[in-house]
């Protein structure tokens, strides 16, 4: 929106909002590091597979278990496939899964939280008991059970992770809605005869977005770790899919002779989770000191 339009229209200039997010991202060095790691990962996932000269599934048995070299910067695996190429394709896969799962968690949890917080009464009670039940289980164990029942496949892992993780969004959104709906600007809007839908869409949702975005950022790292973990256990992606957890699992057999097979995906998983966590923490601290309390409880 241009500066002129922003001044004449009774709507918020978009610039101010983005400036706030930008400032939030660049406040501390650790946040910058996190943002840098995440950006780098996205760049690798988007451009990496195109740049790499190898096919992630092409076997070259003559070159199996080669140590890192100029031709293969991270070596080759037991079937002669280039580890770096497979990692880059894996990054695309992992990020895609993580974003999809987080999006499902976020939409489901936000919807449930909004309804529970705004409608209240027995609806709130019922939804929150369900949330409590879900939160009582350790997430990864519950996901393991669900994925185990559904059978090993990447889709089932995604379903399992989505089902397990929406509850914390619901609780966060509900508590934010409960506090925002008591604020006087909501009363002001209602006293003007505005509908509940208007209040929900124009006042409540925009005011609960910030903590939800923070939680989602922290969550992406967790989902990547969960996907890799379930795949490592054999429940997720099956070979020859270049998934980080699957690569880790098959590389484990060659731990003594080919250290790069395990270390390369391991370090990448670590850096990814590290990056998202730093970014999420930084956003949380920067956006509002009072909102950090909400997330801390989850």
């Amino acid at each position: 929106m241009s500066e002129d339009a922003a001044n004449s229209a009774p709507h918020r200039p978009v610039g101010a909002r983005w400036r706030r997010w930008y400032e939030a991202l660049t406040t501390t060095r650790l946040t910058k590091l996190g943002a840098g790691l995440v950006c780098a990962l996205f760049a690798l996932a988007v451009f990496g597979p195109a740049v790499s000269p190898y096919d992630p599934a092409a076997q070259a048995l003559a070159h199996r278990l080669e140590a890192p070299s100029l031709a293969h910067p991270l070596g080759t695996d037991q079937l002669g496939r280039d580890v770096l190429t497979r990692l880059l394709h894996g990054a695309r896969l992992s990020l895609g899964i993580a974003i999809a799962v987080t999006a499902v968690r976020l939409s489901l949890g936000t919807a449930v939280g909004l309804v529970a917080g705004y409608v209240g009464g027995w609806v709130d009670e019922a939804l929150m008991r369900l949330v409590d039940t879900l939160l009582a289980f350790p997430g990864i164990v519950l996901a393991l059970v669900i994925a185990g029942i559904l059978g090993p496949s990447l889709t089932n892992v995604m379903v399992a992770l989505a089902v397990v993780g929406w509850a914390s969004y619901a609780r966060l959104v509900r508590s934010s809605v409960l506090s925002v709906r008591e604020r006087e600007f909501v009363t002001a809007s209602r006293l003007l005869g505005r509908s509940r839908a208007h209040v929900l869409g124009r006042h409540l949702i925009p005011n609960v977005v910030a903590p939800v975005v923070v939680l989602a950022t922290l969550d992406v790292g967790g989902v990547i770790l969960g996907t890799a973990g379930l795949s490592f256990l054999g429940l997720g992606a099956q070979p020859p899919t270049p998934e980080w957890g699957t690569m880790l699992a098959s590389g484990r057999n060659y731990l003594r002779t080919a250290w790069w097979l395990v270390n390369a995906p391991g370090v990448l998983i670590m850096l990814t989770v590290f990056g998202f966590n730093l970014l999420g923490d930084g956003l949380r601290d920067a956006l509002s000191p009072t909102q950090s309390a909400h997330i801390e409880q989850l």
Binding site: A6, N7, S8, A9, P10, H11, R12, P13, A16, R183, E184, F185, T187, A188, S189, R190, L191, L192, G193, R194, H203, P206, N207
Partner: protein, 358 residues
């Protein structure tokens, strides 16, 4: 500011039929909400407002004063519909109405509200102009809206540029003006002002009060003016209602209530106001504290703190008595007004008129 006395315009022939009227309204709040208490039938409630009646017409200002917790804000919320009364009725243009969800659009547009905490009443993510435009009906075109926002901001002496700013970017006085602009945006006949100038410095208070007076003249709006600050109320109010423990204990033309209070509570309130004149005696704070609303005293609610109280005050709840132009809920209103009532603590109950205006 306090040096200019309120004009007594409430009684002249320009009076309209009341826009809003409260008839014997009562409001209770539950104080103990545990399931066990409810099962045992032990649910306690606090009476915030009991049996208050009040009417506000176009063009006049009705001031409501009293200590914190006396039910002033609850009274205001009953008028706006934020709360529904447990007893009695709220009337808008003679029609009995409930809380805001049951009011028609036309009824809601009768009343504008300036909230106690104005900054909180603006969504911090919305520009001030957008918040003001929220009060408009749906019929207006976008460019009409922009003109109307500019016009409203000019009416409250704000630069139209303020419309594109955010609540956090405005000063206390500016946000207060923006709050008034918003309350006027849907052309109300009555504006409820809950402590509109508390928290502002004295100079800003004065300009806001002047602005309110000017807007009232221009649009002939009625004000329900809630304040704990007698000096502020005195400047604007035509009629005054003094509240104590959820009851209106004295009401009448503002000037008369200030000059010749006929209820000991009003008298005590006036005595607690510091005077402008250094030769006046120092202010006397009210002894004791207001009663616990969940455990109200028998008889007159003010009797535990009243220097004039006797056995009758402990037993019997007083009805309104007419004393000259004002009405007072005191058994001894007449004697107090004449200065013939002595207090029962042995000292001479000599009346000391409030002299800050002389």
């Amino acid at each position: 500011m306090r040096a200019s006395p309120a004009n007594d315009g409430g009684n002249d022939e320009t009076r309209h039929a009341p826009v809003a009227e409260l008839r014997n309204v009562e409001k209770e709040f539950e104080t103990s909400r545990s399931v066990l208490d409810r099962l045992l039938g032990d649910a306690r409630s606090a009476k915030a407002v009991c049996g208050a009646s009040l009417s506000i017409s176009r063009g006049e200002t009705v001031g409501v004063v009293g200590e914190s917790g006396c039910g002033k804000s609850t009274l205001a919320k009953l008028v706006t519909g934020e709360l529904t009364p447990d007893g009695g009725s709220v009337l808008l243009d003679g029609d009995s109405v409930g809380g805001y969800p049951t009011r028609t659009g036309g009824q809601l547009r009768r009343i504008g509200v300036v909230f106690q905490n104005v900054r909180e009443s603006f969504d911090s993510r919305w520009s001030v102009g957008r918040s003001i435009a929220e009060s408009f009906g749906h019929e207006q075109q976008p460019d009409e809206r922009v003109d109307r926002i500019d016009d409203l901001l000019e009416q409250v002496n704000l630069d139209p540029q303020v419309g594109s700013r955010y609540p956090s970017e405005l000063s206390g006085g500016q946000i207060q003006r923006a709050g008034i602009a918003r309350a006027l945006a849907h052309d109300p006949e009555l504006v409820v002002l809950d402590e509109p100038v508390s928290g502002l410095d004295v100079a800003t208070q004065a300009t806001i009060l002047d602005l309110l007076a000017e807007l009232q003249r221009r649009h002939e709006i009625g004000y329900l003016f809630i304040s704990h600050d007698l000096g502020v109320v005195r400047y604007l109010a035509d009629r005054l209602a003094v509240m104590y423990a959820g009851e209106i204990v004295e009401r009448g033309p503002a000037r008369d209530v200030f000059e010749r209070p006929s209820h000991p509570y009003t008298e005590a309130l006036l005595r607690a106001v510091p005077s402008d004149d250094p030769t006046d005696p120092p202010p006397e704070p009210l002894p004791g504290s207001p009663p616990d609303p969940s455990n109200r005293p028998t008889g007159c609610p003010f009797h535990p703190r009243c220097p004039h109280a006797d056995g009758q005050c402990e037993r019997q709840h007083p009805e309104f008595k007419r004393v000259r132009t004002t009405q007072s809920r005191c058994h001894y209103a007449d004697e107090l007004a004449d200065g013939t009532r002595t207090n029962n603590h042995g000292t001479d109950g000599e009346r000391r008129p409030h002299r800050s205006d002389s």
